[in-house]
Symmetry: C2
């Protein structure tokens, strides 16, 4: 073998440190300066060429793509990138990536592991408090000038003593559980496997969990198994005083049924960071005071973005210097 | 002594179980039915007579008044009620009652102790998360139809690692501290006395606390000493990235200065359940995305109202049957 192949590419050669960005992930948009000083960024989204033509032009040279949940990396995208070796994802979940195709092609995938977990857990709790205690509704009430005119602001519902069911007790779900326990909630969960080391009650499925809960917090990944898992039956099992918080993915809920249940009072309220067809939010929700709507930003803080940037740049540096990736996603 | 004086008044005699309500406390408004079946309620607010004349008409017979923070029980009100023996307050604080005059007259005062503490603590944390993570602002963003048009929603600020200073580490402040610790905040406080049994850093005054904090949560009582305690100097010590949450009383903050600091960016944001001249909220705040405005309902849940009703009725029953009050407020 030619010894040149064993050598790291020289760091001063920008072309060898070429990173393709199909559509700028939020972390990249905020911290572009840091990326641009270290790598040669190919901006597919900024080119006058259609994406397909742009990819064709760089097909032989692109070895790394920086991607996010905002732009699905499908088999077709991958087909246009025959030299691809690494997908650096700015998200934790990888449901936007065709993982079987990556496996087949030997393309590695890195994510940002748990840099967003604390922020998502904090905001999940914030959404639950907001819905139960009507904080955003109260804010609207005051800003609408209704307070002096009428003291009629409905009572909220107490957090303490509520039975909260966590759907997916992974990194985020566990952090949500710790927070809710400090607030006097009774935590139970459903998850792919029972976690015997944790003190919370396990339910084998979401329907039973809903029956035994006053609120559900969705923290699971989106897979074929979890798509539309929260259906009409689950909502009815949760019941008319039940609340749902979704910080997972929109499609975990059957949104059409969900909107119907909310409008008809079949469940009491919801705090939603994610929707099935973002950025489109069902208009029926806009008039409801018992829902809190968040534009898929629950993970976004200055601090978490900084941490995510460190991981992304760390993975890119590792790749270009032939070192082990910091956060390789297992793909078997 | 006439043995009749040792007898409890017969419960069937409604007139002997007469309770005056000057203005209906929220708990009474919600649960009036329960009060009306047990006591003969004199509704000053429902009478065609002016309050002064109404009081005059019942001056000799009113021994108990049910009151709330919404109607100050001044020396003048007390003067109109020469037979008064007990003030049953639906609030925890008694700053709306002329306590020295009560002491002089031998009028006892009961409150609802800590039935609202957990709810206030939950909502204080909810307001802090909301401000830092821009939840109500995000809800406004989505409902305003801005999400599809522009993805420009500013980043929030992480809760974990924030140095949170609690002003007044009483019942509510301590509960806030427990919740924030579970979320990874670094808690310190100032209070009338240092609480050596608690693990949080004590600052001798609010100015030093503000200098060492990223956020202040106001949980103190309103007294002459705490009125306008949060002044321009404290806000500047907290600084441009600092956040204030007020679940105490509006007048703890110098509101005119506060509005100026918020508008001019001298502090970063605020979550406010209370205001200096309720229900009037400074209009300058209505246009700000970095404040969350709540119509003094932070303590109001169905559950806490039920608990409060139990305490109020328990005190009234105790009074009318010559038993010790459940929650006598010390007044020395």
């Amino acid at each position: 073998m030619d010894p040149k192949h064993h050598q790291s590419p020289p760091p001063e050669s920008q072309d060898l440190r070429q990173v393709l960005v199909l559509r700028p992930p939020p972390v990249f948009a905020v911290h572009e300066h840091y990326f641009s000083t270290k790598f040669h960024i190919l901006k597919a989204y900024d080119s006058p060429l259609p994406t397909h033509d742009f990819l064709k032009a760089y097909a032989q040279s692109v070895t790394v793509v920086l991607c996010s949940g905002m732009f699905p990396v499908t088999a077709e995208v991958l087909r246009n990138l025959p030299a691809l070796q690494l997908l650096v994802s700015s998200a934790t979940g990888v449901n936007h990536i065709d993982m079987p195709e990556c496996r087949r092609r030997g393309i590695r995938v890195s994510n940002v592991v748990d840099v967003f977990s604390d922020d998502v857990a904090d905001a999940a709790v914030g959404l639950l408090i907001d819905v139960l205690r009507r904080i955003s509704a109260g804010d609207r009430f005051v800003r609408g000038g209704r307070w002096p005119a009428a003291a009629e602001h409905p009572l909220g519902s107490k957090l303490g003593g509520k039975r909260v069911g966590i759907v997916g007790l992974g990194n985020i779900g566990s952090k949500v559980a710790i927070r809710l326990e400090a607030m006097g909630c009774i935590v139970s969960y459903t998850s792919r496997q029972q976690k015997h080391c944790l003190p919370y009650t396990f339910y084998p499925n979401v329907l039973q969990l809903a029956s035994g809960s006053d609120a559900l917090i969705l923290c699971c990944v989106l897979t074929d198994a979890t798509r539309h898992m929260i259906d009409n039956r689950v909502m009815r099992a949760l019941g008319k005083t039940g609340v749902i918080v979704n910080v997972a993915r929109g499609a975990v809920i059957d949104e059409a049924e969900f909107v119907k249940c909310l409008v008809e009072g079949e469940i009491a309220g919801a705090g939603l960071d994610v929707f099935e067809n973002e950025p489109n939010v069902p208009k029926e929700l806009f008039g409801l005071d018992n829902v809190v709507l968040s534009p898929h930003v629950i993970a976004c803080t200055k601090e978490s973005f900084h941490d995510a940037m460190d991981v992304l740049i760390g993975n890119l540096e590792a790749f270009f210097t032939n070192k082990p990736l910091l956060t390789l996603v297992p793909n078997e």
